[in-house]
Symmetry: C2
Subunit: 337 residues, 2 copies
C-alpha cells in the first residue's frame, strides 16, 4: 500500500479539485491510500458530492494554508498549515509521499524543514518534465526531465552531479528507462564550454558511472536529445517558463493569422482536435507534476491550476515513485558515483 | 552615402549569396556603397552572373577565410583573412559598417581586435532579434531584441547596464521606438530575484535614465512584454538556441499528428501558406542579422545560411544603423547613465 499525503488547500482552484483527484484515485486504485490535509468541512462537502471509496481515504485537519501570494517563509511561523502538516505526516512515517498544488516556495521550504536530505546530496532540486519531439524509453514518453528548475539558484559542480544522479533515478522510475541519458545544459557541446561550474561538473560526470552524454544546447531541449537535462535552478527556471510561454504565443499568433483568410480558418477548424492534442503535448503541466528531489521522502508539486484529473495523475506519480523506491535509487546512484 | 564592408567568404552557402545580396542592394539603393572582401575571381564570376550597379560596388582581395569549423582564435594568425580585412577597412575609416555571415566567434574576435570599445562600455555584446506575440514600435515589428546572446559569458552589473544602454540605442534605430522598454531576464519580477549580478544591475537601472521595466521571466520572451531583454551571454545563448529549436520541433510534431488523420492532413494543406508565414515569423534568422554592439563601428552578423535576400537585408540594417548614428546613440545613452 502506497500512502500519499495530499495538501488539499493550496490549489488555485480550491480544495474541490484536490478532493476530486483523491476521490477518483480511491475508486480506481486499491494500492493507494490518500490522506487529505485541510479544512474538514470543505473536504467533507467535496467528498460527499462525488463517488469515492472511503476505506482508501482519510481526512486530517490543519490550521489554514499558505496561499500563492503569501511569502513562502511564512511556513516557519505557521507549523500547522496544510502543507506543513502534510509534510510532517511523511516525516513521522505516517505517509510515504507528499503531493501539493500550492505555493511552490512554501512546499520546498516545508519539505526541507521536515525531511532530512538524502546522504551525499548537497542540494535538493525541483525537476520538471517538458515536451520533446523525440520520445523516451519503452513507453515512448513524449517528454524529458529538466532539473533544477528553481529549488535554489546557483549550483556548484558537486551539486550539479547530484542533480544528474537524482534525475537519472527519477527518470528510470517514471519513464522506465534502464540507464537514462543525462547531459549538462551549456552553450556548446565541447567539454570546455560553459560556466566554470559546468566545466567542472562535466569532468566529474565524464568519470562515470552515469550514462553521461556530455553537454547539450538550448535546441536540444525541445528536440529531446537526452532523457535528463541538468542545470542550475536559475537557468532552469528561466528556460521552463519560456517553454510554458512559447506554446501560448504560437497558438495566439496562429489564430491571428487564421483570422485573415477563409481557407486558413477552415484549416484551423479541421485541425481542431489535432491542435488541442499538440497543445496538450506542449503543456508540461499535463504530466502530473514536478518532483522535488533530494529529500528523504517523495514530494510532488502539482501545477497550481491542476484539475481533478491532473491531481489524480500527481497522486499516481507519487505512488509510482514510492513503489519504485525513489529514495533508495537516488542513494544508490550517489554511492556509485 | 553609407559604406558597408562585406566579408564575402565565410558563409555556409559560399561567396555567391554574399555577392547576390550586395548586387541586389546596388540596384535598389543609391545611398549604399558596398565593398566585397574575398576571392577576386569567385566574386567577379558571381557578379557577372547577375544584374548589379558597379558604381556602388567595390571588390577587395584578401588571403583566405575562417570557416565555420575553424577555431575563432585563428584570426590572430591570419590578419589578412576576409573577416579581418573587412574589419580593418572599418578601422581605417574606409567603411562605416561590417557585415559577415561567417564564423561568429571569428567575427567577434576580428572586430574586437580592430575596433576600439566605445568609451564607458565594459563589454561588447551580441544581440539577436526573436519573434514575439506582441508587436513593437510604430512599424509594429513582430520581434524584440535580446542581448548578450554569446559575445562573452558572464557579466557583472555594470556590464549588464551597458547591455541595456546598447540594446536601447539599437532598438530605437531599428524598430524606431522613441524610448524602448528594457528589462532584465530573471527568475521572478521582484527586484531581489536573480543572481547577485542581476539584483545589482536592477538597482543601477532603477536609478534611470532608461525606460526600465524591471525584471521579466522566461515567458515574457515569446510574449514580447518589452522591447529589449538583457541577460549575460551564457543565458542568452542557451535561450536563443532553444527558441531556434522550438519552432522546428513543433512543426515536426504537428506533421506527425497530421499523418494520422485525413481531416488533419487537409487542414494542414489549407493552412500551407499560413504555416509558412508562422514559421518565418518564429525564425529569428529572417530578421537580417544580429548586431555586435559596443565597438566603434557597426557590425552585423548575418546567419551562416542566409540566402541573398537575407544578406541584402543585413546590408540594409547595417546602413540604417550608420544613418541612425548607432555609435553616437550608444555613447549618449552611456553618458546619460
Amino acid at each position: 500500500m502506497n500512502r500519499i499525503a495530499v495538501d488539499a488547500m493550496g490549489s488555485d482552484l480550491g480544495p474541490e479539485v484536490m478532493v476530486a483527484g483523491a476521490a477518483s484515485c480511491s475508486i480506481e486504485r486499491a494500492d493507494i491510500h490518500t490522506t487529505l490535509v485541510g479544512d474538514l468541512d470543505a473536504m467533507r462537502r467535496a467528498l460527499d458530492a462525488r463517488p469515492h471509496n472511503s476505506s482508501r481515504l482519510r481526512l486530517v485537519s490543519c490550521e489554514g494554508f499558505i496561499s500563492q501570494d503569501d511569502d513562502p517563509r511564512s511556513v516557519r511561523e505557521r507549523p500547522h498549515c496544510s502543507v506543513c502538516t502534510a509534510a510532517s505526516l511523511v516525516a513521522q512515517g505516517e505517509a510515504d509521499a507528499l503531493v501539493s498544488a500550492g505555493n511552490t516556495g512554501a512546499l520546498i521550504l516545508a519539505a526541507s524543514l521536515h525531511l532530512p536530505r538524502i546522504e551525499g546530496i548537497r542540494r535538493a532540486a525541483l525537476a520538471a518534465v517538458h515536451p520533446t519531439e523525440r520520445r523516451h524509453g519503452p513507453k515512448r514518453d513524449p517528454f524529458a526531465l529538466i532539473l533544477d528548475v528553481g529549488a535554489t539558484s546557483g549550483a556548484d559542480a558537486e551539486a550539479l552531479r547530484g542533480f544528474a544522479a537524482m534525475g537519472v533515478a527519477y527518470s528510470s522510475i517514471v519513464s522506465e528507462i534502464e540507464a537514462p541519458r543525462v547531459a549538462l545544459l551549456s552553450n556548446g557541446s565541447e567539454p570546455q564550454k560553459g560556466t566554470p561550474e559546468i566545466v567542472q561538473a562535466h569532468q566529474l560526470l565524464a568519470q562515470g558511472p552515469l550514462n553521461f552524454a556530455g553537454n547539450v544546447e538550448g535546441l536540444d531541449i525541445p528536440r529531446g536529445t537526452v532523457d535528463v537535462v541538468v542545470c542550475d535552478g536559475f537557468l532552469g527556471n528561466v528556460v521552463l517558463k519560456m517553454l510554458e510561454g512559447v506554446g501560448d504565443s504560437l497558438t495566439h499568433m496562429a489564430r491571428q493569422a487564421a483570422a485573415r483568410r477563409l481557407e486558413w480558418r477552415i484549416g484551423m477548424q479541421l485541425l481542431g482536435d489535432g491542435l488541442k492534442q499538440l497543445r496538450r503535448m506542449t503543456d508540461w503541466k499535463a504530466y502530473g507534476g514536478a518532483p522535488l528531489l533530494g529529500l528523504e521522502g517523495v514530494v510532488i508539486k502539482a501545477h497550481g491550476r491542476s484539475e481533478g484529473r491532473a491531481v489524480r495523475n500527481a497522486i499516481k506519480v507519487a505512488a509510482k515513485n514510492v513503489r519504485g523506491d525513489l529514495i533508495g535509487r537516488i542513494s544508490e546512484q550517489i554511492a556509485r558515483a
